[in-house]
Each structure stands twice: as structure tokens, then as C-alpha cells.
Point group: C2
Chain length 380, copies 2
Amino acid sequence: MMHAPTQKQSMLGQGRLSRGRVAQCTRKSIRRSCQVRAGKTSTGPRVAIVGVTGAVGMEFLQILKQRDFPYSSMKMLASARSAGKKVDFDGETYTVEELTENSFGDCDLALFSAGGSATKKFAPAASDAGCTVVDNSSAFRMTDGVPLVVPEINVEAMKDIKLGKGGIIANPNCSTIIALTAVTPIHKAVGVKRMVVSTYQAASGAGQAAMEELELQTREALDGKPITTNIFPRQYAFNLFSHNSDVDVDLGYNEEEMKLVKETAKIWNTKDVKVTGTCVRVPVMRAHAESINLELNAPLTVDEARKLLENAAGVSVIDNRKENDFPTPLVASYNDDVYVGRIRRDISRDDDCGIDLFVCGDQIRKGAALNAVQIAEALL
Amino acid sequence: MMHAPTQKQSMLGQGRLSRGRVAQCTRKSIRRSCQVRAGKTSTGPRVAIVGVTGAVGMEFLQILKQRDFPYSSMKMLASARSAGKKVDFDGETYTVEELTENSFGDCDLALFSAGGSATKKFAPAASDAGCTVVDNSSAFRMTDGVPLVVPEINVEAMKDIKLGKGGIIANPNCSTIIALTAVTPIHKAVGVKRMVVSTYQAASGAGQAAMEELELQTREALDGKPITTNIFPRQYAFNLFSHNSDVDVDLGYNEEEMKLVKETAKIWNTKDVKVTGTCVRVPVMRAHAESINLELNAPLTVDEARKLLENAAGVSVIDNRKENDFPTPLVASYNDDVYVGRIRRDISRDDDCGIDLFVCGDQIRKGAALNAVQIAEALL
């Protein structure tokens, strides 16, 4: 499972090797999320992975291994359908166990990436059993008392939760994490009053099956065969479409867009920020892009914005106007950072209170599994 | 050349048949662009197609035939490299002739889709010879005295130019035409103060070779082979990237974005509109999508906006929130209209002066060849 990607996978952005950017404790890293290199150790927490057979579950394991996350025991959990499957991790083979309310009595930490209904049932059970939960689903993100955390941004929101003492910490939605990792350094400097976001979202956000369908459909399209549409109700290959989440018939916003609106306010702990978004799926495998227009509370030059971003934890700037070299989803794929470029003064404004950005981030890593593991690291 | 598309071409969006939406003289059509169904007729203008072997040149012929554009003679022109090739049109076979300054003495109308430098040289020569030019390039768009026309929007700008009397009329850039066909009905009703546009642009905007490279790269990626990058300096298949036009190193905007800014002001004949744009190429064959955030001079409800769009010439509304059915590039491909959906009140504003839209339009048709033929029809 921890295999190197084939060339085909690399070309699809499905198996691109990390460019060796495993985070180090540099001045850019926030103290609490510095890695504790340990691997299996008797002093580490007892860890459970919930939903281990999914795309994010598999990525949890890759990232825990890459970052030598300390653990004394590891438990692989999934629905009854996947129970009995074998999972290799850190040189050992584990049998996937069925997720039940009794799964967590001997665990200190559970990384959840399960469906909303399973999460609503089992995450509180885990917490009640003294197991601290980091949850990748949307089930508890907007629940009062549940911190919604991007470690580079608001790690202080989880200060009251201790490892092995229960509690739930929510991982924000992928497009929120990727946008805010880039935008927050600017927000902290001058204040963001309003954001207009248009996304270019990868298949991975809809799970492994969506990535496989995109590949299948692409082959079918190239061969002139009828298109298989099991996951989405329309052709995805060589096409794009408004995000597949439900649309509020009154507001006209889909759930993905409302997550961006609501989660931004919670993470920034403010009601004063205004967000509008248009979320779109594009035929890319596993990294999202976002075009972001910022209205600021105070003037900021492009050079100041670029400097803020260059010094920000979890951000890499690619902004070469002369060579037309800016972030792309393939550059971001399998890397940890959020890549930012197209840093420009908004020429539609008469003042210097507008900045345009273009950001790319790996949806499965920083958009999901990596951010959750960083939260877990902050608990150590 | 006028063949029906294969199933493969349809699936790629390269050969999708028109859904029979050849424009008719309905109440939606503006009077001057109503079709004059005639075909070859002794009373029709003598027509030249310049750059006939390119993607837009080929589309000129398809559209002239579909709309039974009247002509008494047809001349096929291209660079020396393509001279001698055969082109079928309306049941006759033509030999492509080399474009020279003397090509236009016996022509009343020339549809140009050639490179910028060829256009700068030969379009004035054509005009001087009494041949009226409709030019698809950017060469003369911002030139004083050259009307920049989208017939549904500002046909009055070309009122002083007469067929067979010389003169140049410029076709706007594809992303401008597609955005403004949708936005202008709203602008005419309440005034657009500011637009924030993010584009999702197809390969076709970079020409036939870019479409072929996207198909080739996609096969290579699926087969795990090295990627061919002759047209763009990076992988396009399963990826996206900031538009390939040159970037102004001071402003940070690329040429495609500046076209949107400048052409909007010229077409709307105002200096008061403000535009910021982020132009991005996505792996789609021939229809552009655009996410558009509008700041209005006066309040407008969503119902009012939808009604304006439903009644607008050249616009089709697909805006089904309940079924999550909105415009896609494949729906727009090979069709004439600009498709508009995601019509929403911008919830980031406290007033009712913000509207979000998502539009899709065929880049080769309305974005280029169709708009030029509509201009030619308005000259008849």
C-alpha cells in the first residue's frame, strides 16, 4: 500500500512522489505542530484509524508513516463491509476491524474519515470512552464547543482538548483549508473584509470512486465509447460542472460554498468577514485550485502580500510573472504546502485594498489527511 | 470537412452536433442579425475567408453553410504554407490561395482569422481595396474607429460601415464575448459597477494544435508515458494552469485578463465599469466557462435577473437548483447560445446589489466564428 507510484499514476497526479517536502521544524513551522519523530514506541498514544480503507484513510497511514508519528498501538477500523481486509502499515499487517461503539476503550486518539452518519454515531462514543477524535467529516464542524482547526491558523482553539481525555476536533472542509492557509496571513496583517472565491476542484474530494470514474470516462471518451456515470450524473471527462453537493433552493448556494462561508467565520472567530463562492469540479485528480479576490480592511502592496505569504507556515509561493510560472494542481499533488501565485493588486479598485490570488493544494493531504495529522501532532 | 462528428469526437466535445439551435428570427433575435437564408446567389456579396485552414476558419465555413449565408463567390485564403490545399464548401471544392495584398480586389467581405502580424498587414489592404473586414484577431480591437462588436449588445457601433465599402470591424476576444453576452442584459437594466471574473478556458482558444495536444497528452498520461509538451510548456492533461498569454510584469495581469478589462469598457462604451479577472486553462476541448461576480449600481432580485437573461438574445438559462443542473462546457459545445446558471444573490453583501453567475459558451462558435458571421449578417 505504501508503494511508489507508477509513472502512469504520476502523470495522472494520482501517485506523484512528494518532492521531499516533509515538514521540518523551521522558523516557518508553528511550534506545536513540529513533528515528533518516533514511530512505534511504548510511550506513544494508542491510535485508531476510522475509515481506513477510503482515500483519506489510506492517506492518514502514509502521512503518519512519513512523519514518524509516535504510536504504541494501531487499530484499523471500517464499516462491516470492509472488516477482514488486510492493511500494511510500518512493516506490520493489520486486519481491518468493524467499527462499533466499543472500538475505542483502548485508544487515546482516533483519526476519523467516515461518512457523516457513522461519524455522528461513533465519534461521540469514542470521545465518551476517553479517546480524542480528530474528524475529517462535516458532522461536527459547526457544533458549538467543537474546535474547527487549521494548525497554522488557529491551533489555540483546541487548547482545552487533551490526548486520551476525549473530545472532538473537526478538520475543516478541503476548499476552506486550502483557501484559508493562503489567505489568513493576509487576514492577520490587515484584515480581510470580503472574499470572492471560485474553485477548480479535483475528483478526489468525491472519493476514490470518483477518481476511478474520471479515469474510466476519459478512456471511454478517447475511445468514442458510451460514458459510465455511476458517481456523477453527467460526463466529467473533458468537462466541468457546478459542485455536486446539494443546492439550497432558496439561497442558490451549494453546501460546498456554504462550508466556505461558515467555516471561514468560525476559524477566524469573527462574524465580520463576508464570503461568496462558486464551487466547480474540474477533471483533475487530487489537487484543488482556487481563484480568490480579497477586499481588505487596509491597504496592502503586492510586495507586502508576497512577503507575508513567503513567511507563512504551510505556504509556498510560485509567482513568476516573467516566465508565466504559477501554481498548478499537478505541482501541488502529493505535496504538503498550499501553493500561492498570481499575487496582484486588484485593478478594479481605486484603492490598494484589493488583492487577487490563485492557490493550489493537495485535496487529500492538506485538504484532509495531513491537516488532521497536524492536529493530532499538536495534541502530543 | 463538413462531416458529422464521430462518437469519440462527441464525447471529447470536439464534434458534438448542434442541438438544432440554429438561430431563428424570434422575438429574442435582434432585427439586424436575423438570418438571411440564401446560400449561393448572384446577388450575394463576394466573400473571402482568411485563415481558412485553422480551427476558426473551418468553423466560419460550417456556420456560413448552416445559416445559408448569401454569397456570390467564395475565396479561400491562407498563408503560403497552406496554399494549394483543397477545401469543400456548399458542394464545391475550392483550392486554398496564398493570402497577399492583392487578394481582395474582387471581394466585398472578408472574414479574418489569422495571426496578429498577418492581420495587421492584410486587413488594411483588404479595406483599402473596398473589402469590408470582420477580424477575429486582437490586432485592431482597441484601435480608435474600429468598432468592437457583439451583435446582441452593440450592433449600433458598426452603423457607419457598409458592405463592400471597406472598413474593419473587430470581433472581441472569446472570453469577453461569452461574459458580456450574459452580463449585458443586466448591465443595461441596472448598470454593472464592477465584475470579478474567473475563467475556465478550453484548449480551443489556443488553436487546433492545442486541442490535439490535450488529447495526445491525455492518452500518454493514461498509459503512463512521458508527456508531449509542444504547445504549452507543462502538462495540460488532468491539470490546469494560469492562461498562457504573456503576463504584464508590473501589473501581474495576463493579456487575456486585460482583454476582458479593456474590451468590456469599449463594448459598453463607458469608462465607469471596473473589471478584475483571473484567466485559467482547464482540460476541456472547446467551450469556456466563467464564474462571474457582479456588483450592481442598483438592486436587482434573482427573479428579475433570471427574467432579463431568459429574454436576452443569444442566452439560454439552465438554472435548476433542485436537480443541480447548471451549464457545463459540454452542453455549450457546438451550440450557439451562451448558457447561464447559478444565478444567485451575492450573500457576501448586505444589499441586493450583488449577483453571481456561471456561464458557458462555445469558444469557437459564439466566442469566435459565430459572432463574426453574425457581424457579417448585420452588414447585409
